[in-house]
Amino acid sequence: MASLKALKVRINSVKSTQKITKAMKMVAAAKLRRAQDAAQNGRPYADRLEKVVASLASKVTVSESSPKLLGGTGKDQVHLLVVATSERGLAGAFNTNIVRAARRKAEELERAGKTVRFYIAGKKGRVLKRFYGNAVVADHEMGAIKYVSFDDAKAIAEDIVARFHAGEFDVAHLFYAKFVSALVQDPVGQQIIPVAVPANAETLQKTGAEAAVEYEPDEESILADLLPRNVAVQIFRALLENAASEQGSRMNAMDNATRNAGDMINRLSIQYNRTRQAAITTELVEIISGAEAL
């Protein structure tokens, strides 16, 4: 049985760990609120842009001359997987889940004979280098970013769109964790290039006094202007969702860790008290038998 001193040291060490996890949980909870607000504030813009793009896209027929971002390159060979993760760990299975979703997609694509490339945004996605070393085309530095701004998303989007026009890939998917609630985060993958036109685009067009809309300049030019922005907005949305999910996930993980530490302290305390009691009993027995021997 462990000595009393060793047990005491152990209990104290678990206690200080518990203090840290508790503090981290509270910090995550505070940050979560902020991240949630940011995600909420970003919604109106994304919703409106999506509607406009959908209604424009439904009017423009996809042809050779239409923007590549809408019509695609005409091929489906090289896929770029954009993986957005967090910069920090200790957030439960948050990063693992995103990376796993991306790897599953990569395996699926490879089985279908496609070429897969990775674009990493966030330090924790770097584990992918271990499995797909040469397929990682870029590792976007995000360490200095405290709260994601639209410009950060735009920088990534511009890089990706430039690579697209340079012919580096044909289809791009974006992986991130969707924030469902503080307890649930869903890793999702979505296609961002070519722009997926919502299936209800047709109905959108029919329902409205859209008939007599004037365009300045024409529909195609507006679309060409809006499509790269749409990519940026989608990435921005993903980063915001990710930020909220990360904090939610960390809050959860730290809550569990705090509880586990509490359980452990209880168990160790019981063991400590038993050991102490046993030592007292032995001592008493020794004294009594010593006294009897006299």
Partner: protein, 83 residues
């Protein structure tokens, strides 16, 4: 009154009823009053002038990377930056 909304990716900057807004369209500035015909236009970087009341002092906002849409509900300006 014209319902006017200015939205950036980070937040909804304005949502209010105003008298008139002058939008710096790519092909020229245009003023939007209540009941303007539906239009979609890209917006060049420049000044967005808001007249809250008729004849009142205008307020100027600088917008970057924008897009404007007028429909029966009013005017919506989407901009990457607004200040």
């Amino acid at each position: 009154m014209l319902h006017f909304e200015l939205v950036t990716p980070e937040k909804l900057v304005r949502s209010e009823d105003v008298f008139m807004v002058t939008v710096p369209g790519t092909e020229g500035d245009f003023g939007v009053l209540e009941g303007h015909a539906p239009i979609m236009s890209t917006v060049r970087d420049g000044a967005l002038v808001i007249y809250r009341t008729q004849g009142g002092a205008p307020e100027t906002l600088t917008v970057q990377g924008g897009f404007a849409e007028v429909n029966e509900r009013g005017l919506t300006v989407l901009a990457e930056h607004a200040a």
